[in-house]
Symmetry: C2
Subunit: 539 residues, 2 copies
Amino acid sequence: MMMNVPLTVGAMMERAEQFFPEKQVISRTSGGVSSFTYIEIGKRTRRLASALAELGVERGDRVATLAWNHHRHLEVYFAAPGMGAVLHTINIRLSPEHIIYIINNAEDKVLLVDEDVWPLVEKVKNQLKTVEAFIVMTDSEELPESDISPLYSYEDLLEKGDERFAFIKDLDENEPAGMCYTSATTGNPKGVVYSHRGIVLHSFALGLADTAGLSEADRCMPVVPMFHANAWGLPFAATMLGTTQVLPGPQFTPKLLADFIEKEKVTITAGVPTIWLGLLNELESGDYDTTSLRAVLCGGSAAPSGMIRAYETKYNVPFLHAYGMTETSPLVTVSKLKSYQDDLGEEEKLDVRSKQGLLVPGLEMKVVGERGEVEWNGEDMGELMLRGPWIANEYYRDDRTEEAFRDGWLHTGDVVTVDKEGIIKIIDRTKDMIKSGGEWISSVDIENALMAHDAVFEASVVAVAHPEWQERPVACVVLKDEYKDEVGKEDLMDFLKPQFAKWWLPDDIVFLNEIPKTSVGKFLKRALRAQLKDHLVIK
Amino acid sequence: MMMNVPLTVGAMMERAEQFFPEKQVISRTSGGVSSFTYIEIGKRTRRLASALAELGVERGDRVATLAWNHHRHLEVYFAAPGMGAVLHTINIRLSPEHIIYIINNAEDKVLLVDEDVWPLVEKVKNQLKTVEAFIVMTDSEELPESDISPLYSYEDLLEKGDERFAFIKDLDENEPAGMCYTSATTGNPKGVVYSHRGIVLHSFALGLADTAGLSEADRCMPVVPMFHANAWGLPFAATMLGTTQVLPGPQFTPKLLADFIEKEKVTITAGVPTIWLGLLNELESGDYDTTSLRAVLCGGSAAPSGMIRAYETKYNVPFLHAYGMTETSPLVTVSKLKSYQDDLGEEEKLDVRSKQGLLVPGLEMKVVGERGEVEWNGEDMGELMLRGPWIANEYYRDDRTEEAFRDGWLHTGDVVTVDKEGIIKIIDRTKDMIKSGGEWISSVDIENALMAHDAVFEASVVAVAHPEWQERPVACVVLKDEYKDEVGKEDLMDFLKPQFAKWWLPDDIVFLNEIPKTSVGKFLKRALRAQLKDHLVIK
């Protein structure tokens, strides 16, 4: 039979060290931009792993990070699982209350924190019940003054570490390697635990020619934070494949991203639509060379087709729509044309590519409507359900597990259609659908239509209680600065009218200066719904 | 944690049915060339699986094939593992004695046989101890007359089968799914058992952009037989990815392959060097359009760089050297340039690409010489050892297991060098190395040099016993027809002299009409050695 060799995260770093020792990780920290070879990153990772062991971290213990995208964070990505511990990435944009909850729920033993996030830790330190050591991800000179103890500088620990530390190999591939909490609509964030097996298989999935096709030749810049679903698994896969990594560090701006793309000849980058909206503005105002880019991976929420069109036609940058969630490691679908769809016209192609795409190999899906599995006709809607070796089967110590994980399937809470090619299109979150007079209206469809208007910067459509129809859509719109005094409610309504059935049109359009967003950059519809709760009743 | 979903062969066929129902399998049988969609192949596969169950095949039972590359064989590839049984592909070119041994050793319960291989079965039938049913892979009209019983026609069985048969999902991914015997230097062939896990992971490996990059857009023609290491796993991977498959059927000729490449717009093909040597001759004599080809995967033994050059420069067809063996599923290395090697000159690139290449993700290797692991300097030689989830850990019920599998590593018996990039080059089989006066001489190096000579069609160099030096090399050469009266021993010796140290030069060159080959097309050095045993002593 075949050898019983487990799939391990440590082996992925070993591959980079062995076969791509001189390939580079370019990293921006508060101290500036530096380059490291994989052989250096490997040694530093091993030093860190040995230092963590010195600090008392044992197999299965959680090692938490509050950090941006940079080489030190990458080292923790491999050091923690490489010694048998669990990498727990914490979203630095969460509220202090949620951060306290998360750290205590995960029982984190060590906390590694970026310098600029340190004030947050000072604020919550007295409520952390399990943390035995704090590490600031900097050198000793930059260590902040604090009465927290024990407090270490990252570089000091590395200096004392052992660069020949051996990664753990004799483990069960189903043991935990990583952990990430995802925001809930209400209540505390929910924890998802990633196994070695899941992370390695997911890395293979990212390298398939038919998905992201990540390869050694790529220069990969994840803009999606490393505290958000492992930056979509890219740091893991890129390391396994010997890909050059470009990590944009803290507090980046669209200008910084554009500069990095040009200077570091980035070939593939990844992030949420709001990032690409910002970058698009920057590209339009500056004079950047983006010819190195072969793919912009976009996920987290649906990208408006107008934006996809702008990237592809104005900047000749292929946009790769993807779908996933924290619970799914996250890669679930990628929207690439099938070979025979090359015959379609340009508009039809854009139509297909604006959808979320095709299920990646290794996963299973079904779409369940009110009368069972829906037909794959591009029209019937149902909730997307998923199964597979990199799909979670529970929330960590959380009784909300039962809602989402039933009968062996993850119930995503996303309403989708599936066309005859098997390509899914997200219609809405189950909870964001608008139920008007017994019929469903998709908030996302109206948003996308609004965002295709030249004057509109952002738009979010929410359900507002209505005395007669139960719910009706209200649109919240942010205009581009230059249109602020020129475009009004009526203009946008006239723009929408030809595109929708009359009863789909919003009852009102509210102009805002900004749409409130979640910590991962998605529209915070809950806040808008609260704000507009009585909007239609009073009127 | 992550869902406990096993990796199964059945799920790969389901993906083709669901997402690529109209993509095609083009299949040549003795009846001609036909096309089937994946939805048809899927239904036929399910019919076959249900028919096998009717015949009494149970979980873990071996279902054997004696067949060429065609759609029916592909259906058995998925029907047997899809119902929990084991696909056992038997090399039709083996001697009757070995076939009897294999079938009895594997305890095959059902035997599926191509029409033109049937006479072989008639010859051995009385010595098969376990076979309970014989199936000729044809329709009922073409069923041969025979006193063998029970004897079924494939298409008859399918007709009675159930096209909604459900593939088994609740299995341990480490359960056996496939089986193949590999020829031994002496004695009976040795059995290797493939697990569901190994086959699925191997399929992912074939789809990586950095290896073969197999994708939905490909039109894949495996020339390597489906009875030889699962046609290098291509039928499995191609099905999972929705790739169009072109299966060239029985008794194909170089002309038939060239016609298929042109007519079916083949993008990727795979086989041993002797196949490509034959095809090269055909391409040179005909007028074929080979522009669709993006890769010729070549493995089984080392391809001479002269041939690689001819394909690439004359026909603009990228040659992709690969390495593997039955024990390794088989993909181990692929020779693609690393991105930064693009700066090399054309000759240096060819040099790199003539090597066996870089270890694919998911495996581990070490190279062990007489003084432990060798330096990666491109010169030090050692035996290649491998570890990983698609590497075998034993021969099936065979006490030769201990020779090859020790300390958790497969000892490949291949002597290699590793350059500083980690790229391996096969120097020789341990047993084919020539030990002259206490120093090693590589037979393969001299063969490649000879095959680069315009007049040489094939060359094989073997060790011959020598009274003084222990062993000395003797070259066996087949000249191209047009050179047969023009080129002699002295010409070839003069050609070799500037390329080697004096003591590496063969003691003699023997001209033959043909080099004897193994059933999988490799030079049968054992036969040459026997033939030349006393060559140098007598002289």
